[in-house]
């Protein structure tokens, strides 16, 4: 019988102090062991690429180039002075400003309309959700046809009711709103499903209480119960919608190709990095893009914690 085996038979309390690490240390060790796989994955898949990106953004690295020079903040300085990039930023912000409130409002309205239905609910849910499952690139072709100046049905309708025809996909001032409309079409179904989930989580009793309290009218019901109880859902919808909107890319790439001043952030990054091979510069733009998302997410996460937890 080995010494270790003999020791194992002794009750824990009788072991000489200091022979094994204290309970706290052992727990800490075991804890770190359990956390290791998650931490390694996080490092390898998210943090390491992010650090590489930041490092890259301070260099003039080009795809396939052999020597790399350290530029310091030059890429960033160039980006801030670049009129194309500045237009990409303002276009993206305009796009988000159109899609975010529209996406929340229409998603909510669709959910409210569908929620009360019993038999037709499945049909409406599927119908609204279809655009989410459709590939935007493929659907862009359909939109191109719909909005075509000569053969498109949209302009045919405008003409029929006596309104001036519009060049939706070439008139510069209409381009971003048109893209935003398609983005909206794509995102409303998803938001509706989220709102529907939120609506079914509202206790029925609260509506009964509202009715007894004299808040039984539809506006009162909405303001007293539905809207406040949906606050957590609304914030979540706002976060996902704004991130989706910030990442607008495919419709721009397919419908306008970034021409006529329709550059958006992700498209500008794509051009610099994969068309002009200026990886260092593209990395700097990506860092700026991520900062935008970060500001949004942090703002919303803080609000989420402060205001919308009722328990």
């Amino acid at each position: 019988m080995t010494a270790a085996a003999a020791l194992d038979k002794t009750p824990a309390l009788e072991r000489p102090a200091g022979f094994r690490p204290s309970r706290a240390v052992r727990e800490a060790l075991a804890g770190s062991l359990f956390a290791t796989p998650a931490v390694v994955l996080l490092l390898a898949t998210i943090l390491a690429p992010l650090i590489a990106l930041v490092v890259l953004s301070f260099t003039d690295y080009e795809l396939g180039a052999v020597d790399v020079r350290w530029l310091g903040g030059d890429n960033y300085r160039q980006a801030l002075g670049d009129p194309v990039f500045r237009r990409a930023v303002s276009n993206t912000l305009l796009y988000v400003a159109l899609v975010l409130p529209g996406g929340i409002l229409l998603g909510l309205l669709a959910a409210l309309a569908v929620h009360g239905r019993k038999k037709s609910r499945g049909f409406y849910e599927t119908a609204y959700f279809l655009p989410v499952t459709a590939t935007l690139i493929a659907m862009a072709a359909v939109w191109q046809f719909l909005l075509h100046p000569r053969i498109g049905p949209v302009n045919a309708v405008l003409k029929a009711v006596g309104l001036p025809e519009q060049a939706f996909l070439s008139e510069p001032s209409l381009l971003i709103p048109t893209l935003a409309f398609i983005g909206l079409w794509n995102v409303v179904g998803f938001n509706m499903v989220l709102f529907l989930a939120g609506l079914s989580g509202i206790p029925k009793d609260l509506y009964d209480a509202a009715e007894v309290d004299g808040a039984g009218g539809s506006v009162d019901r909405f303001l007293t119960v539905t809207w406040p109880m949906l606050a957590p859902t609304t914030l979540f919808v706002a976060v996902t919608t704004s991130i989706t909107a910030f990442k607008v890319f495919d419709t721009v790439a397919v419908l306008t190709g970034g021409k006529n001043g329709t550059e958006v952030l992700l498209y500008a990054i794509y051009l610099e990095g994969f068309q002009y091979f200026k990886m260092g510069y593209a990395a700097a733009l990506t860092v700026i893009f991520l900062l935008f998302l970060l500001v949004f997410s942090v703002f919303q996460a803080v609000k989420l914690d402060r205001r919308v937890h009722y328990t």
Binding site: P203, E211, G214, D220, P228, Y310, T311
Partner: protein, 393 residues
């Protein structure tokens, strides 16, 4: 002003299941009436119909003799306290209590979040509302809790806030659906007193749904006992206790529960349990069930010719008295419990002993349909052996 309430043949079905069947109830202004019954018998549905939250399939609801079937809950001027309180979780206690006042005193436009501020009279009305909320909060001693949200309140405190919200606009009829069922036993007893006291102070009409017969017995002027969507009996607590109209009422009311013995009546109305003559007579022949409250069962030493003999299975000590559970020594088996005083000579019966069982008070006889039959106990106490019954065997 308290309102009187009249339910006139109310029926209600959900799909094909009949939940309420011709419910007729009359409640006087200022009365405290409990609706009791087993789970699923339609108590909540009835309450919701009175409140106007549910529409009945047939029949009428009358408040102060006026038919209110077409009125919204608010127009009926009823207040409801819900089982899980249904407080608005995003509002403070103050805002919860103020809601019914705001909806009645401010116009819809004045209640809107931003636009409402444009109204000139809003500030003044708001001040009036705050004063009324403060007054009702003082009544229920929740002044200190007014700026907390429901999530930050204990069950009892939420209960009080819910009561305050119901009280604040002085309704003529209070409806409560098992308002105490989420509280612990001690708090429940306390709130029971508080609600009773509130009732006498306000003088309003209270309709109180509960499945706890103790609550119903201790709080109400009258009890409506429901059974499978029908009214089984309406009466004072002592009516229901002393003269249960059906076997369901007998089973439900009283704790510890009533004992039941299967028996048969011969043509003279004498009752037999497995050929032993029970000391009870009824009016007609046929199979019956005899109900006996534990306090009307006496036990004593076994004697020659005792109608029933039991073997003591377990003795429960309740302080002032004891509950003795017996296995009946009869071919039909069965159990019986007897409530004996702790100071009784036989107060400490040993488990496993055999004892004679006698009836010392009213026995309730129910026929095959569970309906009450007239009955009388023919002999009382021990030792009065009816040899004629022996001879009949």
């Amino acid at each position: 002003m308290p309102a009187s309430l009249k339910l006139d043949r109310i029926s209600k079905s959900f799909g094909t299941t009949k939940v309420l069947d011709e419910v007729d109830v009359e409640i006087r202004a200022g009365e405290f009436v409990s609706i009791v019954g087993a789970s699923g018998c339609g108590k909540s549905t009835l309450l919701r119909i009175i409140a106007g939250l549910e529409t009945q399939g047939a029949g009428h609801v009358r408040l102060d003799e006026v038919v209110v079937d077409a009125m919204a809950p608010r127009e009926r001027n009823v207040a409801v306290v819900f089982q899980n309180y249904a407080l608005y979780p995003h509002m403070t206690a103050f805002e919860n209590i103020a809601t019914p006042l705001a909806t009645s005193r401010l116009s819809l436009y004045e209640r809107l979040p931003v636009l409402g501020r444009l109204s000139r009279r809003r500030a003044k009305i708001r001040a009036g509302i705050a004063a009324d909320v403060a007054a009702v909060a003082a009544q229920l001693r929740i002044e200190a809790l007014l700026d907390r949200k429901p999530g930050q309140l204990s069950g009892g405190q939420r209960q009080r806030v819910a009561l305050a919200r119901a009280l604040v606009r002085r309704p003529s009829l209070f409806l409560m659906d098992e308002p105490l069922s989420n509280l612990d036993a001690q708090l429940r007893v306390h709130m029971r007193e508080e609600i009773t006291e509130l009732h006498s102070r306000l003088g309003a009409t209270f309709v109180y749904v509960t499945h706890d017969q103790v609550e119903a017995m201790t709080m109400s002027d009258r009890i409506v006992m429901m059974d499978k969507g029908r009214v089984a009996q309406i009466g004072s607590p002592s009516d229901l206790y002393d003269r249960p109209a059906t076997i369901a009422v007998a089973r439900f009311i009283g704790s510890p529960a009533m004992n039941f013995l299967p028996a048969a009546a011969d043509s003279s109305g004498a009752l037999f349990h497995a050929d032993r003559r029970l000391p009870v007579d009824t009016d007609r022949a046929g199979p019956v069930v005899v109900g006996l409250r534990p306090e009307n069962v006496a036990i004593g030493p076994v004697y020659e010719g005792a109608a029933l003999v039991g073997r003591i299975r377990r003795v429960e000590h309740h302080g002032h008295d004891r509950l003795v559970h017996l296995d009946l020594q009869s071919p039909l088996g069965g159990m019986l419990s007897a409530r004996v005083s702790a100071t009784d000579a036989l107060s400490d019966p040993a488990e496993g002993c055999f004892v004679a069982v006698d009836f010392t008070g009213p026995a309730h006889v129910f026929d095959g349909d569970g309906l009450r039959r007239t009955s009388k106990v023919v002999r009382l106490g021990f030792g009065r052996i009816d040899t004629a019954a022996e001879a009949a065997e």
